[in-house]
Structures are given as structure tokens and as C-alpha cells.
């Protein structure tokens, strides 16, 4: 065809430059969301560099210093815990297990959950029913209970608890991904790609997954918060991270007696750090979920 088409007269919305999307992301997150992201960022940075910071010593006990309060001794702005260990050092060192534990949960639960969810959404039929049945069983089982059982069977420690929690969280991820992928897969462009002859693998990985990734990221963030609380609780019970390692859950347990004896700071400080990080993660996750579902 050599004749040039007359320019379409339809009223097109002004073409928006693509660069604006990153800026509006920050705006949509809002001041609270940004604050939460900053808190999480600090925790992550401390988890990475904390142990290399100079002047920190979370392990050496010095019983005469037990329960010594903040600013009483040089180099110890938060004072000492029940066994005379530096509280600030232990809080900073504790960031590592607090971040790494949920991260392990997230990586395992996410990689398996996303795979299962995508397959279930694509294949439907008996595989979908079978997966739903399996997931229903897991749904009915509290994650923390599974982790406690795992710790009892396989012995304590971070890994047993983290793996047990991953299995427990798997259904949540799988079902969210399945539903999102099924909704995306019902769109006409997916049918058009299938008619073109694009493989199911390529459609899933190159089209459906990127389009539902905001929901996956948001769910992952929320899950991270839950995993953090559960792992801390397991450590508090003495089934997760083992003393004398610096872990926030362990620290609450170790210093609980101080609350009764008039030295509440060590236990409360650990508790406060846990609550702050978890609330920050959850608020951030909810924000991301709202954004991904177009509510903000």
C-alpha cells in the first residue's frame, strides 16, 4: 500500500513521558511509607555492616556490670544487660539474625510459592485442584506450630525454624500468585500470544510474571514481617537462635527478669526494636499492596 493513511483524528490522551513513574512511586508511598522504608533500610544496613563496626562487643560478659544503666560507663550509651553485656552491641548484632532469618523464609517460600502458583494458574484442571487441596491442609496449620514441631524434631536453631516457616507460608504465596496469574492470564493479550504460538513458559515468565510482580513484592514484604515476628517468638521460646548469640528474641527472654527487678530497659529495648521493624515492614507491605492494586 503506497497511499499514506490519513492521520487518525481520534482524541489521543497526551503521551506521557515514562520517566515520571519512579518519582510518583515515592509520592504514592507517602511520608509514612518512606519512613518505614528508611527504618527497614537501617535494619538491613546494620545487619550487613553491624558486626564490622568498631567498639562493639556483644559477647563478653562482665557480671559486675549487670543491669548498669545508660551512660553510666564510657562507651556504653544504652548500658548493660543481665549478664553485663553491652546492650547496644547486642541490639546491633541482633539485626543480622532478625533480617537473615526472614530472608531465608522469604527466598524458600517465594521461589516455591511463585512456581507452584504460576503452574496452577496455567494448567488449571486436576493439577489446580490437587494443589488447592494440598494448600488447604497447610492453611489449616499455624506456621509457628509447625516451626515448633520442626525444632522439637530436628533440634533448635535458625535453619530448622526458618525452613518450617517457609513451608507454612508457602500456601499464602502460592495462592496469591495463582489468583493474580489467573486474572492476568484471562486477559486477551495472553490469548493473542498463544494464538501467535508463543510458548507457555515464555508467556508466564516474560509477560504474566512481570505484570503481577508488584503484588508478589508487596506480599513478600508483608510476609517478611510475619516471619520476623514468628522467628523472634521461636527464639524467645528457646527453640530458634540459641543463647548466647545476640538475637532480639533471645534478648527479650534473657532480660525478662529485669522487668520485675526494676531494670526493664534491656528487655524493653529489644522488644521495641522488634515492634518498630515489624510495624515498619508491615506498613510498607500494605502500602506496596495498595499501590500494586491501584488503590493509591
Amino acid at each position: 500500500m503506497t497511499t499514506t493513511m490519513p492521520a487518525p483524528a481520534e482524541a489521543a490522551p497526551a503521551v506521557e513521558p515514562m520517566a515520571r513513574s519512579s518519582r510518583s512511586w515515592l509520592r504514592r508511598l507517602g511520608p509514612l511509607g518512606i519512613a518505614c522504608a528508611v527504618i527497614l533500610g537501617i535494619a538491613v544496613v546494620l545487619a550487613i555492616i553491624g558486626p564490622y563496626l568498631p567498639g562493639l562487643d556483644p559477647e563478653s560478659t562482665d557480671l559486675p556490670n549487670a543491669w548498669v544503666g545508660p551512660f553510666q560507663l564510657p562507651g556504653s550509651p544504652l548500658g548493660f544487660d543481665a549478664q553485663g553485656r553491652d546492650l547496644l552491641s547486642r541490639l546491633i548484632f541482633g539485626a543480622r539474625t532478625a533480617i537473615v532469618g526472614p530472608l531465608i523464609v522469604l527466598i524458600i517460600a517465594m521461589s516455591l510459592g511463585v512456581t507452584i502458583g504460576m503452574i496452577a494458574a496455567w494448567r488449571r484442571g486436576w493439577l489446580d485442584s490437587f494443589l488447592n487441596f494440598g494448600l488447604d491442609i497447610l492453611f489449616g496449620f499455624p506456621g509457628i506450630l509447625l516451626a515448633i514441631v520442626a525444632a522439637a524434631v530436628f533440634g533448635g536453631g535458625l535453619w530448622a525454624a526458618a525452613i518450617a516457616l517457609s513451608v507454612a507460608y508457602l500456601p499464602f504465596i502460592a495462592r496469591v500468585v495463582r489468583n493474580a496469574a489467573a486474572k492476568e492470564g484471562a486477559m486477551e493479550y495472553v490469548a493473542a500470544l498463544r494464538v501467535q504460538g508463543v510458548s507457555a513458559w515464555r508467556i508466564s515468565v516474560r509477560h504474566i510474571l512481570p505484570n503481577i510482580s508488584p503484588i508478589i513484592v508487596a506480599q513478600g514484604t508483608i510476609l517478611f514481617g510475619y516471619a520476623l515476628v514468628d522467628l523472634v517468638a521461636i527464639s524467645f521460646l528457646g527453640l530458634g537462635v540459641q543463647p548466647p548469640a545476640a538475637d532480639w528474641g533471645v534478648m527479650v527472654n534473657e532480660n525478662l527478669i529485669g522487668v520485675l527487678q526494676g531494670y526493664p530497659l534491656p528487655a524493653l529495648a529489644a522488644g521495641l526494636v522488634i515492634v518498630t521493624v515489624v510495624v515498619a515492614v508491615n506498613v510498607l507491605g500494605e502500602r506496596l499492596l495498595d499501590i500494586s492494586e491501584g488503590r493509591r
Binding site: M1, T3, T4, M5, P6, A7, P8, A9, E10, A11, A12, P13, A14, V15, E16, M18, M187, E188, Y189, A191, A192, R194, V195, Q196, G197, V198, S199, H207, P210, N211
Partner: protein
């Protein structure tokens, strides 16, 4: 079975969902160089028929031959899927879900060109520009995401994407139904120009008889999964034989149509 002059040959095609027969013993041919309209109200089975022809649904029974190849059973293997993609393409109804919202028009076309042809990057760019010109879109409209485009522009990209496979047949499944009337007319003009330029044959699935009259040579009328009437477009639309076709026909307002009954009522 399928002669050289038959592009699409559908025989005894039946689709049963549970205890409901959506498509019942449908037989028709699309000769080379003609366009066929399948009309009927929603639920008449015409969209299920389209899905079976492009391979999105497997027929319960019956045969489909396109371009001399049997496609009655699902494709085995990615090679055959691509071969079928180069025979029959489809353009769907909803302009808002017909494109991946993360892909620009140029990216969507490039993906299809890479899938089907061994073109180098330079030639693909040239092809994308050609296809864009064919559907009446400029470079800027091809390089933005669908969000920044109107419904008519999106539907043009969906048409260009179907054309990128260089198919012999394109099924237009209510492809212009969701568009405003003026934009609908523009897209229909684009479709007819494309037919003149490429020789592609259309199977038009529609409930809009005005659109049918503009595009198609032949027509089959479907009701409850069966073909109740068939013939050339003029014949069927100007002199419908079946009561159902007459009803469809009568429900379309003509030029010069005035809502007389309501006016009368308001004056009394």
C-alpha cells in the same frame, strides 16, 4: 477435502461444555479472496467457534482445515504452534486487555516478528514501521505504553500484531464493537485497506450488521450454536429468509430512522 481455493474449511464442528452444546454441527467454507461474517446474538456460539478455529478451545468433534492443514486437534510442539500462528490470527474485542501494559507497540510487534521470522534487527525495525503505517500509527504512538493510547489506537496495534505473523486469515472477534462509532469507521477503513494491500481474508464475528455489510462478502447466521441461514451478504441482509435473521435485521435502525412511536406518545 480442502481444495486449493478453500482457505478455511470447517466441517461438523461441535463443542460441548458439560450438558450445554455451545457449537452444534457447524459447517462452512471460506474461499480464497472472500470475507465471511458470522453473525448472531451473544450466546449463539460464535465466539466459541472463533476460539476453536484459532486453537484456544479444542473441538468436541468435527474438523477444521486452514491453508490446507488440519488443525482439528491441539498443536503438538512449539514449532507447529508457530506454523498455525502464521496461518490464522485473531483480533479480540477489548482494546484495554488486548495489549501487555508493560510493552510498547513496537516491542509487541518485535516479539512477534522474532517469533516467526529470521529477520535482522534492522529489517525488523523497517517492518515495524511498515506495519505501523499500514494501521495508521506514527512512531511516537508505537513507542509509548498502551496506557498513553486511546482504545482505537490500541486496537490498531492489536491488528498490526496479528499482521506481523503474516497470516492468511484474520478472525475479527467483535474487534471494533467496543469502539466509538467514528473510530469504528476509521478502523474498518484501515481493515479494508489492509485487505487490499495484503490479500488477507477476514472472518468477521459480529452482532453489528452495519459492520458486517461493510466488510464481508458472505454471511452465516448462528442461533443457539447452529447455523440457521447462509448466503451472500446482500442476499441475507436484504432478503432474510429465516425468522431469526429477520428479527436481527429488524432490530437495526436504518438511516432516516426516527423514533416515531415515542414522539407520537409524547404529543398526545
Amino acid at each position: 477435502m480442502a481444495t486449493d481455493d478453500t482457505l478455511l474449511d470447517v466441517r461438523g464442528l461441535t463443542k460441548v461444555f458439560g450438558d450445554r452444546t455451545a457449537v452444534d454441527q457447524v459447517t462452512f467454507e471460506l474461499p480464497r479472496g472472500r470475507s465471511l461474517a458470522i453473525v448472531g446474538e451473544s450466546g449463539s456460539g460464535k465466539s466459541t467457534l472463533a476460539k476453536m478455529i484459532v486453537g484456544l478451545e479444542a473441538p468436541t468433534s468435527g474438523t477444521i482445515w486452514a491453508c490446507g492443514a488440519d488443525r482439528s486437534a491441539p498443536a503438538t510442539g512449539s514449532r507447529e504452534r508457530r506454523v498455525r500462528g502464521r496461518q490464522v490470527q485473531i483480533v479480540f474485542q477489548d482494546p484495554y486487555s488486548s495489549l501487555d501494559r508493560r510493552q510498547t507497540g513496537a516491542q509487541a510487534l518485535d516479539e512477534v516478528l522474532r517469533l516467526h521470522h529470521d529477520y535482522g534487527a534492522d529489517y525488523r525495525r523497517t517492518r515495524i514501521a511498515e506495519l505501523a503505517r499500514l494501521v495508521g500509527l506514527d512512531d511516537r504512538q508505537m513507542s509509548v505504553r498502551p496506557k498513553a493510547l486511546s482504545g482505537g489506537q490500541r486496537q490498531r496495534i492489536a491488528i498490526a500484531r496479528a499482521l506481523a505473523a503474516e497470516p492468511r486469515i484474520i478472525i475479527l472477534d467483535e474487534s471494533v464493537a467496543a469502539l466509538d462509532v467514528s473510530i469504528q469507521a476509521q478502523v474498518l477503513n484501515v481493515l479494508m485497506d489492509i485487505r487490499d494491500a495484503t490479500g488477507v481474508a477476514y472472518v468477521l464475528i459480529s452482532h453489528d450488521l452495519a459492520v458486517v455489510r461493510q466488510i464481508s462478502d458472505d454471511i452465516v447466521v448462528m442461533q443457539d450454536g447452529r447455523i440457521v441461514e447462509r448466503g451472500t451478504t446482500e442476499q441475507v441482509l436484504d432478503d432474510p429468509q429465516e425468522a431469526y435473521t429477520q428479527l436481527l435485521r429488524a432490530s437495526v435502525p436504518e438511516p432516516g430512522w426516527t423514533p416515531s412511536r415515542r414522539q407520537k406518545r409524547s404529543t398526545t
